[in-house]
Subunit: 398 residues, 4 copies
């Protein structure tokens, strides 16, 4: 499935239908109870993702652009607004798991209601370029929440003492396909999204500009579970010398001893997997669910470093066969605006720019990223202690 | 329904069936989602109450006393243990709302499984006095959780922005039935549970002893919403002079301005009710959902005080027509052991005694208390800031 | 020195001078730096005690009653107010240690200024009974802060890694003088301060009333270090069965393993003492610096209990040779108002009443209590986790 | 005074004497009490700075390199270690203000003792290049603490309700000297410390490398108080649209309404100054004590942005008459390692590298920076909410 690659015959309405259906397919094997809980502030209930993505279509497309559209329910904008300060009150992120109502059935009814309205709207409207851009933004927004749906479901079930497996249309344990290391020559390179790069990008990729790279070589493979285990066994989590000061404080405060979802049982390492519950660690697979602090400490221990986001982007363009897409790869770059970045007007302008402090850039994509959603210029970002996404490590070799 | 009053023909098995059925009847109109969430640390999910009461029967009756009994599921004792430190690991109280599994359906299956086993056990066992006492304890334990089920459901739905009403077999808005004030003469009175007082009491009521009361008069009616509104309107929540120091800190830290569930909308006071959602305050009804701090501040503002638990108990025995049972009535007594109190051996000994610090005694019963569960010697107890129970105020008049 | 026992020839002015001089004598061997720091929220800097007691005289005696009195410094009432909400803004208790100014020298100047003004006032004023009572209250207030000065200095120096000793006019390590156990017969006893009991009491001792005591026997000696060591060595701090639930949470959260100031060094127990720094524990001396949680757990472990405050008071009156006065003795009574207690008007009314929740009563006195300050009816009170006072344990034997 | 510029005749010993004397001169007008307190975790007591800089000389120079040196006091390394995990236990940063001992007099004795030992050491040792580098590091380390001494003293006295002024050999209110804007042409520029740049730099300036700059123009003047006031008066602190999400959360949580030390009294703005206490704001002076969040929000409000650290460095080299040195100027660059950065072995390696996450770079110097301490390649860094340093704003104009 490749939702946003428009075949000549495809229409935006078709893509809309595909994207929306995929969201629901990800939830197909959940129990009602699994939709509701929120075991950590960063983790939203599946019900909330279903509602929030729908609210986005209602609030930013239907209400301002579809004449005669009637809002589904007055209180839903309060319940399903995420962080858009300019669109009124919102439920605090930490309290989403306190809401038993609206029920899951009501949320699916809400989805169907909005889908019908969008269908009619697309069927009867000639889209201005601005409106088409807005709809593409909505599609990409929903795809981002598809990935979060997966990671949040994993967090919920992976922190349940029963470790229940579920069926999911995602190849969570896909193996790496190593290539040769990628040699980057010193010089000035263009960075950022350019015309011809595709039908869509986020605002934070715009502002194409030049960056000087010092020569360096990027690994052709991700760090594996086996390599990471060597770090653990060498006492990596107990020696402050490998760690950033903030990372060391985090390791100690949270009693971190291994990647997220790893459990040591009777002397052997297991991890929670969505499809099979607790499983022994496979040393050949790429390591997953590590924080930036862990990625950085591992790199230092190996005597290497993480790539900058510019190095990563140049390498991904230079060697198209580079097998990225299994893990979001931590870079050593802070998430900051490109030269010339500016914030859009209104609520959509809150999408990316206001998060440009305290976070690190990740590049690539993961097994949970919807097909076609990412590209070499894509800038993902998280705080350096976060690790419930499918995050991994690729080293600079020199 | 009067579950624990044994008619001559009744058997413990019959009572068991009645009590267990009532628990489930309280949940009859819940949505699956309502069973799962935990909007505050003190508030447990309905699913947890259903499972925990069942775990109690399994752990304390079936496992030690029913030969050949097979545990329903190994992990349930971890999930549904509440605070019994002597019975192994337990889910932290604050994390009960993070668990989507076991599902509601599985919990009902668990209940049915244990009910069958208890039924067979009671049918084929000659009960020793100890075992009969244990079963009565289990029945009373379940009844306590019936009241908590109600208050926790109310908290969950009453903190949902949709304020959904549900159907519940409880007369939440029952009116007070005032009597004359009760005059207590000075003298020595017996206090505590004595032979002849009934078939059951908790260990904290034992240790009958004498208490000297100075003469005083207890009000024959509960403080009403209207009377309490006068306190609010007189600025009661803004003048520190009425408050205990801890209470004043609580009012300010939590921004308390009225009883729990009260909302001021367009100049009028409403409160959330389980059966009807948001409703205007009825000034004639007894005030509800106030903390000890509020009860004490109100009493000081009126120039009165709260009764001690001994005064309350003597009054309730002296005037049987005293209409107690609508609100748990805050007393001015700290929850401390009676002379001669001692803790039972083993896990059951953790039932009451270890909570004897930092809490205040409430006497009476409430609209949510199962019929027949309370008595004049019953000692309920909560921390002074708690108010999600059906708590109210009865004053000493002199 | 017996500051408040008025010999026939003595005057209030003489007593005032003695009390004020004793405060300063307690500080005689401090370094300037020792006056300033606040290592815990409950612990006030010595400088603050010196200023606050002076502020009390200025605010409650001189300003309202001494015509023409000029306030020493406008900002001092902000700096040195403790918790009197009715007397304006105040420095938060947790921030007293942030203030380097006013300097120690300025505070001593403030004391001298106020002492001169009080001296003139007392020399030229005929005291009304109310005014005389207010001055006695001020004297007792200053004596309470004398005890806090000592405990707060001990906390400051006892938490310094250099464990510096200082010279202090207090016999910190005085030995117990055991008597026979005191047998209390069952019956009704008078409780509270009565005419003839002396020239002064606090408002919380008033409201003489009757209490019925069940027969019991109070130990004639305090629990010793050696006896308490046996509890430690028997694993007392690691077995939840001995502890109140709140106490067990406290032990675990604070990693409590012994009384305050105890340190285990190379297999031997030491404690910090004011006069001699770190010293080996003397098993014969009464145990000190234990919390209510520890006192209660120790008593349960021994199969005994703590006395109620009424039992203690009756015993102290019945057997005057009872050697109390070494340790504040934890009772099993919560700090609550006596029947008929009422709060005085104005700021002085905030003295005691508003603390009547969440605290336990201690009876007796300690090595740090100024001579003549305590009496059998005296009610001291602290939260159950506090132990930086000179607190100890006396058991009920039956 | 220009402590580290070596005239031909000067010796390292002479410079050592000058630097050490300047530290003490900064404290010359303090009261003993001012040396002791710690009103915030980031703010260390002056006494601690005096001791810690001395401990640095003792631990890193004398103990390993001066044969026969006897440590001044065993416990001082525990008391005065700051964050060097490899040099043993240390007093937590938040508890430095709890220590009344060692006294100020003892700390000065410690300084004199170590100064004598260093004097003898330098007089009798032929310095290896490594040792000379270590001594230069010690001098620069002490100069950094000289700046912190000033900012920490200001925080302590500026948060005292008496707002006491002190005498200080620093021109805190020096005016800006505007130059023309600096035009930077697009191209590749060298960045980082190179041979010929001077006798010393920190490890984080090493790794000279190239950076491509897009053409831009840097302002020739700092943002003034008057300009910043316009932002306040336009509601800058109340409109989330100007703020990073983290910054907006900070503004709301801390109730920020103006730069640190600003107070609005009777409708006029004042700020606390070290030499004159509370003073009216002078609109012509450069704004001071703003956080990165404030600098960034101000720049957005103006429609501009902050320079990157590379832009700043190129501008400072290109136009030597640029009047930097009044304020540490926030850049839009996160504090990250230069390409090829590596950490030194041992404790000195903890100096800079481990802080490379979550902080922003500041360039320039301030009125509190010792003369000769800074240079165009100097990289200062703080978390984005910090503002007790002398921080200011210089905008990119295009």
């Amino acid at each position: 499935m490749s939702p946003i690659t428009l075949s000549p015959a495809a229409t935006l309405a078709e893509t809309y239908g595909q994207v929306r259906a995929w969201t629901e397919r990800l939830c197909a094997s959940l129990e009602i109870e699994d939709y509701v809980v929120q075991p950590a502030p960063d983790v939203s209930p599946a019900k909330w993702h279903l509602g929030h993505t729908t609210w986005f279509w209602e609030t930013f497309v239907l209400v301002p652009h579809a004449p005669g559209y009637t809002i589904f329910h007055d209180d839903f904008s309060f319940v399903f607004n995420s962080y858009y300060e300019s669109v009124g009150r919102r439920v605090l992120r930490t309290q989403r798991g306190n809401l038993s109502r609206p029920t899951v059935a009501q949320v699916y009814t809400y989805r169907a209601y909005v889908d019908r309205a969008i269908g009619q709207f697309l069927a009867h409207t000639t889209l201005s370029p601005e409106l088409e851009a807005l709809i593409r933004l909505g599609l990409n927004h929903e795809q981002q929440h598809q990935e979060l749906l997966t990671t949040d479901i994993k967090y919920t079930l992976g922190h349940n003492p029963l470790f229940p497996p579920i069926s999911l249309p995602i190849a969570e344990q896909a193996p790496d396909q190593p290539t040769e290391p990628i040699r980057l020559r010193a010089g000035v390179y263009p960075i950022g999204f350019r015309e011809g790069d595709g039908p869509f990008c986020f605002d934070n990729e715009l502002g194409a500009h030049s960056v000087y790279l010092n020569g360096a070589t990027l690994s052709g493979q991700l760090v594996s579970n086996g390599e990471y285990l060597a770090f653990i066994e060498a006492g990596g989590y107990t020696q402050f010398g490998h760690w950033l000061a903030d990372g060391w404080a985090w390791v100690n405060a949270q009693q971190i001893m291994a990647p997220l979802y790893w459990h040591r049982i009777d002397g052997q390492w297991y991890h929670y997997t969505l499809q099979h519950g607790l499983q022994p660690i496979d040393p050949a697979l790429p390591v997953c669910h590590v924080s930036y602090y862990e990625a950085d400490a591992y790199a230092r221990w190996r005597g290497n470093r993480l790539p900058t986001e510019a190095e990563w982007e140049v390498a991904a363009r230079q060697q198209p066969e580079l097998a990225w897409g299994l893990r979001w790869e931590w870079t050593g770059s802070a998430y900051l605006p490109y030269p010339g970045f500016s914030t859009a007007e209104g609520a959509v302008g809150e999408y990316n720019g206001k998060f440009m402090s305290g976070q690190m850039v990740l590049r690539g994509a993961s097994v949970a990223t919807p097909e076609g959603h990412s590209r070499p210029t894509y800038r993902n970002f998280f705080q350096p202690d976060k690790r419930w996404q499918y995050t991994g490590i690729r080293l600079m070799l020199s």
